[in-house]
Amino acid sequence: MIATEHVIEITYLIATGLFVLSLKWLSSPATARRGVWSGEAGMLLAVGGTLLYQGIVSYRWIAIALVLGTIIGIPLGRVAMTAVPQRTALSHAFGALCVTLVGTSEFYLRAPDVPPFMMGVLSLEVILGALTFTGSLMAAGKLQEVLPQRPITYKGQNIVNLGMLAVAIAIAVMLVVHPEKTYLFPVMMIIPLIFGVMMIIPIGGADMPTVISLLNSYAGLSAAAMGFVLQSKLLIIAGALDGASGFILSVNMSKAMNRSFTNVLFGAFGQEQPTAAAGKEARPVRSASPEEAAGILAAASKVVIVPGYGMAVAQAQHKVRELYDALTKRGVDVKFGIHPVAGRMPGHMNVLLAEADIPYDKLLEMEDINGDFPQTDVALIIGANDVTNPAAREDKSSPIYGMPILDVDKARTVMVIKRGMGAGFAGIENPLYYLDKTLMLFGDAKNFVGSIVRELTGGHG
């Protein structure tokens, strides 16, 4: 008996080590796949060890659930790369669901005899789990566009939301003092379920990278709380690692959007929605045809391409790859400038461009590429807007003032592929478009890039 228990503990110990190594190996693309294998090995060991547990009286439901989970998991692992943000949000929801359900069962198994500390972490587990569950489902729905993407805001939104959270915490405190009042438990679970929905309602697409990171962090913390309840070091550590990862990403994202971290924590997203550009008279812009654009690109020696969410929407990444190939063949130096919040989740653009077979050493982060723009002949912007807006640097009255941007306006020529003159997510006009050096290329990103590629390769047969 004791021997099996030790075996289980040892599998957990090894799994913990493998998990930490897994994240360590992820630090560079060269070793990253080893990280996945080590994570898988740790997971197999830990699950295998758990199945040895003497207290298990029937394997029937476990087996059915493992098979069912695998059947659901395989298609979720095979989604298109453009669908990765919503898949990620959905997996946060599943993780949080697991934690919430386990927490709920643990409460009813232990009640009414729950020690205060146990009740405290149990409440934390269930509150965090429940709000992450509905919040992530909402985020996935918005990303999949089954829910309206426009942020919905109303007066006193923050007060309502914070009030709900306060009530949930007050109930948790009451349960800590009186764990025998089991009828309070469902209430404590339902409030954060509603809170999760309310938290995501005011959030628009451009805030998604921050929100997904934050939900990631919550999912990790709720799992760590579950580790406290079950007294499992393995779970505490895995949850802490996940929580730390989500936290780092949230801080990165909020910095990249020039929002304070408290601003992010309290869900005050998408507050500024000035309906600019509406009544304004159209200022003149210079536009160009694919032929002209191809001519300028062919004559350049250094080109930086700046992709944004628009590239993902138009599914233009493979055409961009063809453009990259055509220009590289002509001896043009082509690099990509990636803003941290480009796209709908951290690292989104890198994954799309890697899928299109663009070598990762050509994908440069904002800090690394910004120094290059003054020596760049052409900055080609594909489906990005606010992250290139020089008003963030110069115009103190601009709502995005202070946000770090890609300094595309320092390049000799700027070309912007855009459907029309509509303002970006933040509803802010982009003075970049009215510069003398800027050429607007109006059209669908995929078609326009395709036409440029035809022009470039046509002459060479």
């Binding site: 009286v57 659930a65 493992l66 998991g73 990620t88 993780g95 359900l101 780092i248 070598p359």
Partner: protein, 98 residues
């Protein structure tokens, strides 16, 4: 094996520090795979669900435990699969085959 509160807190604190140090080094290039990998690792919560569903202490625990296993397993399988798929795509530029 029993853990007291203080030991749990020590474990949590140290793991959080390790997490910060290790994850800070992850290149922003790989932030999407990072998120899907940590998500898969986080689904280790399945061990708690397995015990719950297997012990059969109450009908509620068995039902909720079973659903929890399904949710966590789909994260494990899907998370590792998609992370590996993404990482396979990241290639350095080198001599490309014609």
């Amino acid at each position: 094996m029993k853990l007291d509160l203080l030991t749990s807190l020590y474990v949590f604190m140290l793991a959080a520090f390790i997490g910060f140090e290790v994850i800070r080094r992850v290149s922003p290039l790989l932030h999407t795979p990072l998120m899907s990998l940590t998500n898969a690792l986080d689904a280790i919560a399945v061990v708690g669900a397995i015990i719950l569903a297997g012990e059969g202490k109450s009908k509620l625990a068995t039902i909720l435990g079973t659903i929890a296993i399904v949710a966590a397993t789909s994260n494990i399988v899907g998370g590792f699969l998609i992370t590996d798929r993404m990482l396979k795509m990241f290639k350095a530029s080198g001599p490309r085959k014609p």
